[in-house]
Amino acid sequence: MIPVVVLTGFLGAGKTTLLKRLLRDPGYADSAVIINEYGEVPLDHDLLASSEETFVSTSTGCLCCVVRSDLAATLMDLHRRRRLGEVPAYKRVLIETSGLADPAPILHALMTEQPVLETHRLEAVATLVDALHGAAALERHPEAQRQVRLADRILLTKPDLADTTALRATLATLNPGAELRDVLHGAVPADWLLAAAPRTDEWLDATARHSANLGSVIIEREAPIPAMALTLWLQGLAEHLGTKLLRLKGLVCIAEAPEAPAVLHGIGHVMHAPAWLEAWPSADHRSRIVLIGQGIPPYWPLRLLDAIEEEVRAASALPG
């Protein structure tokens, strides 16, 4: 499986500057980069000087607006050429989105196109936010907010140019679970940016500290959850939240297999089949699930889970 990291951020946030720097850094060697630009002429491609181990493929038009299979086609074409030896045997793919892109359809494509699913794995979403203009972009453009809400990591660029106190508070409100790092002149450690998005205690704890946030719903549960209840609950979320659910992540203690947690990961009505960690990352074995969304009544997911679990437990207690 080839890991994919999505790099997003509003216009002028510094994505190209960052990529320019990354592609000269040995830590990012063996990367294929897909650049999506909004407009006819792929300027960013020309602005980037890649290293020998890295090459760049561009796609014009707004990636989030074109048919989702375009991204899949680009990825799979690269993959085919890699297999045939027509391009270097890259170890990862970086996708730079257009500044105007809503990343959700892009992530959706990565999670739903079957050939892509069989060959690629979404590793993380990194969103750049400009310290100087980021607050205005977040206020005026819903795309900028979506980019932040969907991020696993937020890179605060040009932090030396402005007082970022208010912006940091806004970012923490929009996405309390994301890791935030100041980035000066595109310098980002490869092992941080390229690492799989954290799905362990640190991430969940960081989110839980902001549980009053309206964009996030946190569910913590001491008792293990029956597998059937979890399945029905996810079905209920998909049915009734739909596109209101931007992202769902969680570690869940399944009643039938409590020795290790199941990892949940989903966007909208699309969920990854649960993956299992080898063991609990800490002594805390509570189920912890975070939903990031818009317009979700904060107690609805928990109330639904309670109701479903009650029914499942009652049914399993029936004789025969």
Partner: protein, 85 residues
């Protein structure tokens, strides 16, 4: 689930669907506008919930089924199916 707990779930659901209906506890039932929701008696299993409208009484075998029926009755829009990848 007690009537107040059911009321809370249904009130949140109505808000989620952007439907317009007052939700309140009415004895052992919960009223959602003109719709009356009651828990089925144990002997009615596998029916768990009844959803009643004037001239119609609909059985539901689960809370998910109840929400689906209620959403349809309120015109809360098309639900999406879960897709696992």
């Amino acid at each position: 689930m007690t009537p107040p707990e059911l009321r809370a779930l249904l009130a949140d659901s109505v808000a989620l669907w952007s439907a317009e209906a007052r939700v309140w506890v009415d004895g052992e039932a919960v009223r959602v506008g003109e719709i009356r929701v009651t828990a089925a008696a144990p002997e009615d299993l596998p029916i768990r919930w009844w959803l009643e409208r004037p001239g119609q009484k609909r059985p539901c075998t689960s809370v998910l089924g109840l929400l689906r029926s209620l959403r349809n009755a309120l015109g809360g829009g098309e639900a999406q199916k879960l897709r696992v990848v």
